[in-house]
Symmetry: C3
Subunit: 303 residues, 3 copies
């Protein structure tokens, strides 16, 4: 077993050092190869998802149960949130009844700002258009598993960059880790703030060059109305078509945080293509979350 770190909360990847990121990836790989831990006492987690989720929600539940934690279910639609209870009071309540670790996804950016003094560890499962740190970490783990390093890799991030809570975190941290980041996609979904982390290039060019083609989800639910093209035309202009896929470098991989819009971001058949790591990303998600939870449990004296 490699050395493990300790953590109080996980709110963003920016707060982690390069060494901490490497330590989490290393531990996640060990969990993937069957290692596990023994808790010193019962400890309970709860997953408070105020936005739809299958992968992140259930992946955390799996990680918690694999570590032997108790999981207290929480469902906003049947909770006191319907009586007007605020997020603060909901977290206060869950902490009072003995939940020590909460994974929270909430539509408000930095929803966690006023929660951090409560006697609970918070893992950000997605805040508005902000961060989604465990998605970022599982992407990093998947890249590292493939290439053994980040140094010198060309990583292309394609699509809905402006509104994605994956794009900015990934771009920032990949740059810190020594990769070259390239962006492509519709101009009105780009944001010049991203110039700090990488270069904007043509879709067809970048797919030929990249070691990692990272597709972002077109989030229909977040920008209904401001799309100027149909699914078909998005696919043709910016998607990973079969034709573009054939131009990828030998050894290059494709990634997507899922859920995938098949035949929009990528051609249907490519989801399970040989060089697709989409399923692998979901697998790795459980193990990176075990590593994050372990660091938090260590911080709470449970390990």
């Amino acid at each position: 077993m490699s050395e493990t770190m300790t953590m109080k909360h996980l709110l963003s990847v920016e707060a982690l050092t390069i060494d901490e990121i490497h330590a989490l990836i290393r531990r996640a790989k060990e969990f993937k190869h069957g290692e596990n831990v023994t808790l010193k006492r019962q400890v309970f987690a709860s997953n408070l998802f105020f936005e739809n989720s299958t992968r992140t929600h259930r992946s955390f539940e799996m990680a918690q149960k694999k570590l032997g934690m108790g999981v207290i279910q929480f469902e906003p639609s049947t909770s006191s949130v319907n009586k007007g209870e605020t997020l603060y009071d909901t977290v206060l309540t869950m902490a009072a009844i003995g939940v020590e670790v909460m994974v929270i996804r909430h539509p408000q950016d930095e929803y966690y700002a006023d929660l951090l003094h409560l006697p609970v560890s918070i893992i950000n499962g997605g805040d508005g258009r902000g961060q989604h740190p465990t998605q970022c970490l599982l992407d990093l783990m998947t890249i590292h598993e493939e290439f053994g390093t980040f140094e010198g890799l060309k990583v292309a991030i394609l699509g809905d960059i402006r509104y994605s809570r994956v794009a900015r975190s990934n771009a920032m941290v990949l740059k810190r880790l020594g990769a070259t980041v390239l962006f492509a996609g519709p101009e009105f979904w780009y944001d010049e703030a991203f110039d700090a982390f990488g270069t904007r290039v043509d879709v067809d060019e970048v797919i030929k060059e990249a070691d990692v083609v990272m597709l972002l989800r077109v989030q229909h639910e977040r920008h209904a109305g401001d799309e100027s093209f149909s699914k078909e035309s998005y696919h043709a202009q910016y998607g990973l078509t079969n034709k573009r896929w054939k131009t990828m470098k030998p050894g290059a991989i494709l990634m997507h945080p899922a859920p995938v819009n098949r035949d929009v971001e990528l051609a249907d058949a490519l989801v399970e293509a040989k060089n697709s790591r989409i399923v692998r990303q979901m697998e790795n998600g459980v193990f990176i979350r075990m590593a994050v939870l372990e660091a938090i449990l260590k911080g709470r004296g449970v390990l």
Copy 2:
């Protein structure tokens, strides 16, 4: 402990041999008498119900927990299904995060057709108007528990035969097992395809003759509008009224898959009548599901 079988999926009762059916019933009875097993490692199930359910859903959850399996909750209404994710991609995701056994109920007939290559065992919890194999098996177990055999029994199936996912499976398998099957109920809810498995007879006659009176649920939610009678007139014409019930043979039992429409399929007081096995069916459901899960876990090398 009797010999146990192995299974990859359970999609329909038709796929089981007579010996396999008897083996499952035998094991279910052993579980009912307190036997249990020890899993070689942690193994996780998830129950994906895209249609309402209390009995089937919670009975599977109970069976899984009694066997020591972990259960990952899944709720379509708060999942990525709301972002347009397909059943295929949902199952792919749950498999990727480490769920090995999935019980699925879905409104589409044979929803499972394109899922069978995924690295997961699927138990059909009801597909459209198709099959509901564990309901069939628990009915068989309940009959066998009562009579010790199927040979020579007269089993009457009454009611909404055409639209039921219980009627066809039960009729087919009961015939294979040596029972005589009789049908009664409204003509427009009958289907001539059933002539292959039994005989259509008069309601009043069949209730006097049958060893097992198996009532089917009037599924208001599946055929709103095409009913040509009120609840009262259905009950009077085709229901098990108190009067008809008194004509049942000594030793004959009544069954219903539930939920019951009281005073429609049968008179309110008969649900818990001495010869009603409705509660027994629900009890047996847990044990037959344990037997099915055991066969699947054995197939996966967990037992």
Copy 3:
């Protein structure tokens, strides 16, 4: 470990003797200080909440899991309740599949009346405008923890007295336990039936006098339309404003069953004031529920 009592159901606090109440509080304190029990066999609970809840629902789930019980999830909105299944048949079903303890919250007063012969223990988690016995017990525990006795205490109950399922139970039992009960709040939310348990007094006076200021929630969801004042004017007239709070006696505490309407029943900042026991009440809720569950498990021979 102190002596423990046994119980079949917990429907109301009125059914408990003074000794039983003290025994439950004593055991709850022992659980709070880390004591636990070992079950003789697997035993399953289910929490059937037909009204919104965070605290009560999840606090019971926590108590069950801390005691090592299995918890079968139940969600009315995806259950057969949607096919017209009654509460009776739902409970019958859950009992048949092996759930031995059910916590039920239901909008109908005394919903449990026809359920008591079923082979299951029922804990009332709130019936219509009736009772909410574990809320009452956790309030008593919190008072006892503070003062070591009920004798001679002045307890003020403020607010929506008529419609609260906390007010009547608390008033009756506090009187039995030797406390003096005082009521204040809007006249049209008062009910003369309460004259039997205490005295109606002026808000400003009672806050100065009371050892315990027990605020009741304004239940917007229960009496939309019949409110003759805004939130601001309720707060000004009957709420615990900062100004009134400053007039509380030294050593006096404030309580609220939560969820709190901040700046209505009490000023926002007072929720976590030094003399607020609102968080403590939620903490104690888990332990008092463990004590109640223990008494029921003892009654069922599981302990």
